[in-house]
């Protein structure tokens, strides 16, 4: 296929994991019906989960995971130097993710709890953008493969990469779901970036905001509504901090 007279550009891609469960990488290798086509759009030079190649000549580096050790910072910076484009994939890389729970406790206490008498060198959990420039962030726990496919098609056809400018509510309504607030549950859908196809709320589980805030969240009004419905300040804060994706919110 040619678009504006140009054939597709096949980028060299490296995929790297840091502090994470590698579930987002697994997502990249998921959705088998289009997997061959997906992988044909790029040249994978480094991707531990699906290839033994260990190339360094990648143009696009996909980073999964948060940064929680000094050696990770060093490795991340090296990748940044080599890559033309660095993409944070998944909630850990974008916001810190579940790992950020660690930051709630003193670092020594955490170390002792996990490693006992054999403490390891460890740091506070931070998202990738705290250490290097991130050119594109694809949030989600895990990332939505369909969204990644759309983005890579945009990259190879040199089209503009776009994310929805509406919250999860729109996708939730498309599924004709009952609003979880009507069922007495709490849900971060009204302030969270769509693109997940409302997968959690369609399963009657309140949104935990893994994709972070959408472009126009009305936090003040939303918190007022939640409090009026009987959810305490502490409860709302707890839910917001689940993925550390709402660190911009200082108080509720």
């Amino acid at each position: 296929m040619k678009y504006l007279g140009l054939g597709p550009q096949k980028p060299k891609v490296g995929v790297f994991d840091f502090t994470c469960c590698e579930g987002c990488e697994l997502q990249l290798a998921n959705k088998e019906t289009t997997l061959v086509d997906f992988l044909s759009l790029m040249e994978i030079v480094n991707f531990r989960e699906i290839s033994s190649d260990k190339g360094d000549d990648y143009e696009i580096a996909l980073i999964e995971g948060s940064i929680s050790r000094a050696d990770e910072i060093e490795r991340l910076k090296k990748i940044r130097e080599r890559a033309k484009v660095l993409v944070a994939i998944g909630t850990c890389a974008c916001f810190g993710g579940i790992n950020s729970l660690k930051n709630r406790y003193p670092i020594d206490e955490v170390n002792r709890e996990v490693y006992g008498e054999m403490p390891k060198e460890t740091l506070e959990v931070k998202p990738v953008k705290e250490y290097v420039q991130v050119d594109l962030a694809i949030p989600g726990c895990p990332i939505n493969k369909a969204e990644v496919e759309r983005i890579i098609v945009d990259v190879v056809t040199k089209a503009e990469i776009k994310f929805p400018k509406y919250p999860v509510c729109v996708e939730c309504k498309q599924h004709i779901n009952t609003c979880l607030f009507d069922l007495g549950q709490f849900c971060l859908g009204p302030v969270t970036q769509a693109g997940c196809d409302a997968v959690c709320t369609s399963g009657k589980m309140g949104c935990l905001g893994c994709r972070g805030p959408f472009e126009a969240p009305n936090f003040e009004a939303f918190f007022d509504i939640a409090k009026e419905k009987g959810f305490s300040k502490d409860y709302i804060k707890e839910r917001l901090s689940f993925f550390n994706a709402f660190s911009e919110v200082k108080d509720v």
Partner: protein
């Protein structure tokens, strides 16, 4: 219109017979809300037992059966130097059971745009023409204001409309398929007694409305109140979530985008119902946004409903079902917004 009466037990046989040979969609109970009240939605049914004919109101409108939230408008296949386009808008005939007058009136409004408008939509027409519609009257909910919009009764846009007169339904038959099909069932010509019951039922429904929204001269009124501070007040509450438009039976604004398949051999033109309250609704090429403020976006939703459409089509687009008001977490609802505007206007004059 031809009037007949059918007993509720015979009506059930009529429904079973329709379900047996058609895709049939009707109101079913899908959830129980936190106050222990049932939530009803229109879904495909496989037996008359599943249909809740005495349902209160459906959670979302039936709009999506005619204007799907997402729809592939056309598909492209690329060959070496050329491409082919495939468009598919044929649908199987189907039956929609239990629509309220406001819901049918909402379809009649959509007809003005997508059926009889300047740019008819073959996708919409195909669905509309192939849907057999059975309407059903109901006692209004406390917040229904369809009588204010004159949409509590309906005279067209359906095949048959049922009014509940106790043990029977008083049928208004509005299409030859409906008339022919009903011949197979025990229907009777209304007696004087039936007519009386029907008139009583209509009277009872009319006086059961608890909510009234004063819409007289609203278009000119909205013009005067264009800069009213009440827009900021309600806009500050708005979550920009688009829910109001999603559940609305007549909100039809949509966006179209082209998507290329992962194999780069196919592409599609896809439609998605959108909402004027969403941030980038009025964003144009180059990135300029004509309505960056949420109060303006909310205002224009009201303007489209009660002014813009009225000016062009001589009727508001709102049918008074208050689904937007019920679904809005921020409790933004037509009754309060319009009353607020009137109050503001009175205070200023």
């Amino acid at each position: 219109m031809i009037y007949r009466v059918i007993s509720k037990s015979e009506f059930r046989k009529f429904l079973e017979s329709l379900i047996e040979s058609n895709v049939t969609i009707g109101p079913v109970q899908s959830d129980v809300d936190r106050n222990n009240d049932p939530i009803y939605k229109f879904q495909q049914v496989h037996s008359a037992d599943e249909i809740e004919l005495d349902y209160t109101i459906s959670y979302t409108a039936v709009k999506n059966f005619f204007l799907p939230y997402r729809e592939k408008l056309s598909e492209y296949t690329f060959t070496d130097d050329d491409w082919d386009q495939t468009i598919e808008y044929r649908v199987h005939p189907r039956v929609l059971v239990g629509l309220r007058p406001c819901d049918i009136n909402a379809l009649n409004i959509l007809d003005r745009i997508f059926y009889k408008g300047t740019y008819p939509s073959p996708y919409y027409i195909s669905r509309r023409k192939n849907t057999f519609i059975i309407g059903l009257d109901h006692e209004p909910l406390p917040d229904c204001f369809c009588s204010s919009m004159n949409h509590h009764t309906v005279t067209e846009g359906f095949d048959v409309f049922c009014s509940d007169i106790g043990d029977s339904y008083y049928l208004a038959i509005n299409s030859s398929p409906a008339f022919d099909f009903l011949k197979k069932f025990q229907v009777t010509v209304p007696t004087d007694e039936d007519d009386k019951s029907y008139i009583e039922r209509r009277k009872f429904i009319k006086k059961s409305f608890k909510t009234n929204v004063e819409i007289g001269s609203l278009p000119s009124f909205l013009d005067i109140e264009f800069d009213s501070p009440i827009w900021k007040k309600w806009g500050d509450k708005c979550l920009n979530c688009g829910t109001c438009a999603m559940v609305c039976p007549t909100c039809y604004c949509y966006q179209v985008e082209e998507n290329i398949a992962v194999n780069l051999k196919k592409a599609s033109k896809d439609m998605m119902l959108y909402s004027c309250t969403i941030l980038d609704f009025a964003e144009v090429a180059g990135g300029h946004n004509f309505r960056p403020k949420k109060e303006d976006r909310l205002k224009y939703r009201y303007y489209h409903h009660y002014r813009g459409f009225e000016e062009n089509a001589k009727e508001p687009i709102c049918v008074g079902c208050n689904r937007c008001g019920r679904a809005c977490l921020a409790d933004i609802n037509p009754k309060d917004v319009i009353n607020d505007l009137r109050l503001d206007n009175e205070e200023r004059s």
